[in-house]
Symmetry: C2
């Protein structure tokens, strides 16, 4: 019975594809654009097009493709599309989850399409455009070399060798045969999104909700997760801002005992990060990314001897993990430590030079020496920016050199490197001022300058950079005879859209945006005890930040492919660790402030120190207990997940009874037994 | 095709069951014993027997049962058994995992029985006896009331009401109709196990390996996990013991700077606990319990209004979690805090009384006053033991009162209560001596006495208690005319075995054993800096402990039902937290020791304190980094788990394609939608 039904469905599918192929080309709605490099020969390009259109039986992707002419007059741009039914079958293959009419979120199957919440008879609208584009990307990535193919046709590069199961697209990227691959924008949707997101019509919208679900629909989960986190963090800043401003206004005595404020902030950081976990798991449940363990394909840059993946049993490059560990701990780790030491030395030189300049000024007190005092600061600022950029390139090089198999692992190791160095580079001079020089006024002043200047520079970059990119684009466009480049996409004729998008820069992911929040979080929380107004400046910045980031996403960059995300990954840990460091710095700052001493009269200095150590331990204890006590998932999400788990166990049981899993065993590759004799 | 095969298999099964039922009763090998209480009527007992034997279609368990005469001459003892094929089908239903011939551990299915590593044609030996007994227990627990049944037949107790889906056995327990239910011992296996485990033939066996796999086969995972942990901990103690003894022997100057030893111990605690995670995940993988999320049925004592479980969709009592939280934080929490305060007050009274006695002795110095000095210690020791016992009862009462649905949650809340109080009760006087009295010699002395005495009492209890229980059993046995009671089971005639086992006491789980290790771990690690010999005493005790605990399991108690376990649960957290507290106490002790002061000459006292605070933070940082850096699973386990995950995803995809999951959706109960509109 099942057999026959399957055959029937396949028949249906084939028929649908036939229809798709005979569609008149004027109806062709491109979803993804591939731009071959000028190095490619027509043979290679035609071979790739044929592969994309070929049936799965013949190693193809069963998608529709259309070759168009690039600026230089050659047919180097390939538009890829697929009919709705084909995409839905792809969604099923990929294990995409959808919300069903009964409220649960489960793996989508084409057979049950009528039970899906947003089912329509025409099937239109059942997938968001970004999902459709992602499905096409996955299908393209999964076009793999057949046994008979050992070289990319029409390509003389000896590196362009293939082996059975190698992804053709990743090989074309590594041989520089493919320049660009990006999903196209949808001008109408984009216009509506911009309107809801950052077009301010009334001032009351300033703290308004972001349209997270729409953002997710248009840009995918990882971008939506970033903006939701940014929103959650901004909302969380309101409370410290209010308290900080009240302190500022009514603390007329000029005393700086921000003790209660600092203690509140330390606890608040935990509450905010734990409630964020709840929000993020709600998102992840609704988006079908919660608890989804997807087997990760190797990164494009991953290399190694050809072997067998012990998990999938497929051929793929294999790289021994001891070699990777050697590179991490033997190469990267010492270099990172060295860089941090260099940053420390540079900082020491700065303080030393400043002291000399100040002494000179005191001695002579001329206009020249007054100017001289500023020189070290200016040089140091420039050096910091240069070091940051140089280190960034270095960190990327080192992490690439570690040869991680998975993109996620690559990103985590990169985050650790950047965060460690940036911590030293941004915060160490503040630590020096606070705990070595013990000059609280200077600390407050430096903190204010660093925070405000860094934010201003950031905002400028995010408005200046677009302007520069735009001018570049306009120039480029003029060369190619395009005069629409500066206009929003919905004001450009459809036929010119792809060409305009091709000129746009690629969006490199949420990395920089999180790093910016990391700095800000540090400035606000590490030194709350001396400068409560930091929260106010951070809040003001973030309200702007949401808009400039949104503008950047909608107008400056090529649309990115969506990336499934269930949380903010390693950044959660980074912020949590900062929360603990904040407890240490703040209790130390409070303990050192002269205003607190009279309160502890009668105690010896040692006893006072011990009291602060005890207080620090107590606050850390409270934070740990709070982190345990606040459940990471709201109860309704937990119940739903339990229900899905229970049903799938029940399903597997029934199945086992029907003896249907037999094929699973026969298809499992046999592994040698030697590793399992651990008694 | 599948249909037919299924029908065929069912036919096979029925045939097998028929054979089982027509088996001559002399061949009947009992696996599980049920003893009905003297309150039950023959009607109830016969009804239960019929249920156990009835087919699943009629709400039964399809097992074999045989009623035998109890001591009082009534037929109140029910022996339950099942043929091997029936048990294997039960194993499949339960989702039991087995090791396959290809080395992987996956859910067992009867259809693939030939691919299992320990496949035999007769099917004997494919399940361990403890697994067979566990399967029978699960099947018995799963006999549920039909729609037509609303009261236990032959029982006038109004509490004995039933509703559709209520487990009959749990209702019989709550109505005191079922006295005992236990799996029978296997005398031959037990004899061999005893021989391998604790019969010392040569001294070199003293540190020998325990037969963990055999223990697991006989007693199940949770008991095997405890003994494996005990063994791992004992081995880990060897290193501190060696260092401690070396210090003791060669530290002739009499100086007490155990600094290096203490720092080593703090780091060592983390290494030992992290490597234990690896060992435990290896066990769990081999035993098929790793990553196994089983839906937990409600505890026997759980009560609430009859409602619908939102996960399974079945009727069961429902208890709102806000009521539980109210009881936890409103009732239990304040009472626990109060008890801890009482313990503190009692301790203060003890020190006060001792001071008075000492002063009196100094003043008068007679024999009488010399005796008087000992009185407070003696009284305090007795009071501690009494408080401990009283608190234990209270904690159990409070936790029952919290009305947890799951047994695991009940146990976790009980562990937290006991550990909090025991920490105060056992360690607070040592903290007082160390940090308030600051008398290091007195601390060392008290620590030695507490550790050695507590361990001696423990060992005595574990050898005296068996003796007392044995005598009780012999007396009971004599009354019933049994004269074999004191002998090992393999020397008793088969026919008398069940009667002897019925007299044995029930094993209450690994709770007390872990609590004993908790005390010991505290004594050894919290004060390493003053008393390195603690490790030696602990090691000596544990080598004995393994034997006495083993003896207890094999000779004193009824065999327990196996319990699946993937790790040591909340105890892992408890030991980890103790590891962090140890860092604080030890750095404080080192900082306070007068011998360390000359090393820090030239620093002010405040600077010295700050140096120790910095050292403490550094050690905690190292511990946290180590905990992250040591992977919780060995690589081979990780690969295997990834492989299983990958294969099951692939299986689900194939399935989805074949549209076989449709039934899963139609059988899913519909939930109201209102909770899911969180945008």
């Amino acid at each position: 019975m099942f057999r026959r039904q399957k055959a029937q469905d396949e028949g249906e599918k084939e028929q649908l594809l036939d229809e798709g192929e005979t569609e008149s080309l004027s109806d062709f709605r491109p979803l993804v654009v591939l731009e071959f490099s000028s190095k490619t020969t027509p043979v290679t390009r035609e071979w790739m097009k044929a592969k994309i259109e070929a049936s799965k039986k013949h190693g193809g992707a069963e998608l529709n493709a259309k070759m168009v002419v690039a600026k230089d007059g050659e047919e180097r741009v390939l538009l890829v599309s697929a009919p709705q039914e084909r995409l839905l079958h792809g969604a099923e293959q990929m294990g995409l989850k959808k919300k069903y009419k009964d409220g649960s979120v489960r793996a989508f199957t084409f057979a049950e399409r009528q039970n899906i919440e947003d089912y329509t008879e025409s099937l239109e609208g059942m997938l968001t455009m970004s999902q459709s584009q992602y499905i096409i990307k996955v299908e393209l990535d999964n076009i793999r070399a057949l046994e008979t193919e050992n070289h990319i046709p029409g390509c003389s590069n000896p590196k362009a060798r293939l082996y059975k199961g190698k992804s053709l697209l990743s090989r074309m990227v590594s041989c520089h045969l493919l320049d660009k691959m990006y999903p196209v924008h949808n001008p109408e949707q984009l216009k509506r999104l911009q309107h809801d997101w950052y077009h301010l019509h009334e001032p009351k919208q300033l703290m308004g909700r972001q349209p997270i679900e729409t953002i997710r629909g248009y840009f995918g989960e990882s971008v939506a997760m970033y903006f939701s986190f940014l929103g959650h963090y901004t909302k969380a800043l309101v409370v410290p801002t209010v308290i900080g401003v009240l302190y500022y206004l009514f603390n007329e005595s000029g005393r700086n005992d921000f003790v209660i404020f600092a203690v509140f902030n330390m606890i608040w950081a935990t509450v905010f990060l734990e409630t964020w976990k709840r929000t993020s798991s709600e998102h992840a449940y609704n988006w079908g990314t919660l608890g989804r363990q997807v087997f990760e394909e190797p990164r494009a840059g991953f290399h190694g001897k050809l072997g067998v993946n012990r998990i999938t049993g497929r051929s793929e490059p294999v790289y021994p993990s001891w070699k990777r560990l050697l590179r991490i701990y033997g190469v990267s780790f010492p270099i990172v430590i060295l860089c941090m030491l260099v940053a420390v030395v540079v900082m020491m030189i700065y303080f030393w030079a400043e002291n000399i300049a100040k002494a000179k000024h005191k001695e002579e007190n001329t206009m020249l020496t007054k100017g001289l005092v500023l020189v070290p600061s200016i040089i140091y600022s420039v050096v910091i920016i240069l070091m940051n950029q140089a280190y960034r390139t270095l960190a990327q090089y080192l992490t690439k050199n570690e040869n991680h198999r998975e993109q996620s692992s690559y990103e985590n190791y990169l985050i650790v490197k950047l965060v460690l160095f940036d911590f030293v580079n941004c915060f160490l001079c503040l630590f020096y001022i606070a705990f070595v020089m013990q000059d609280m006024n200077y600390l407050r002043q430096s903190l204010a300058i660093l925070l405000i200047v860094q934010q201003l520079v950031g905002q400028l970059q995010e408005t200046l950079l677009p302007y520069l990119l735009m001018t570049k684009r306009i120039k480029k466009g003029e060369k190619s005879g395009l005069d629409h480049v500066s206009k929003p996409l919905h004001e450009i004729p459809r036929s010119k859209q792809a060409e305009v998008e091709s000129l746009m820069d690629r969006y490199e992911g949420t990395f920089d945006d999180y790093l910016e929040l990391f700095w800000q979080f540090g400035y606000v929380f590490l030194f709350s005890a001396v400068y409560p107004m930091a929260a106010f400046w951070a809040l003001a910045n973030n309200i702007m930040e949401i808009r400039t980031d949104a503008f950047k996403m909608c107008r400056i960059f090529q649309r990115p492919f969506m990336e499934p995300a269930a949380n903010i990954g390693a950044w959660q840990t980074v912020f949590e660790v900062m929360g603990f460091i904040a407890v240490m710095t703040n209790t130390a700052l409070i303990g050192m402030s002269p205003e607190i001493q009279p309160l502890l009269e009668g105690y010896t200095t040692v006893q006072k120190v011990l009291i602060f150590v005890a207080a620090e331990h107590l606050i850390i204890f409270i934070k740990v207990v709070l982190a345990f006590a606040i459940p990471d998932m709201p109860e309704w999400v937990e119940t739903q997940m339990g229900r899905i788990e229970y049903q799938s166990t029940q399903a597997l049981k029934k199945q086992a009874q029907l003896h249907r899993t037999r094929w699973m065993i026969t298809s499992a590759p046999s592994l040698d037994n030697e590793n399992y004799n651990h008694s």
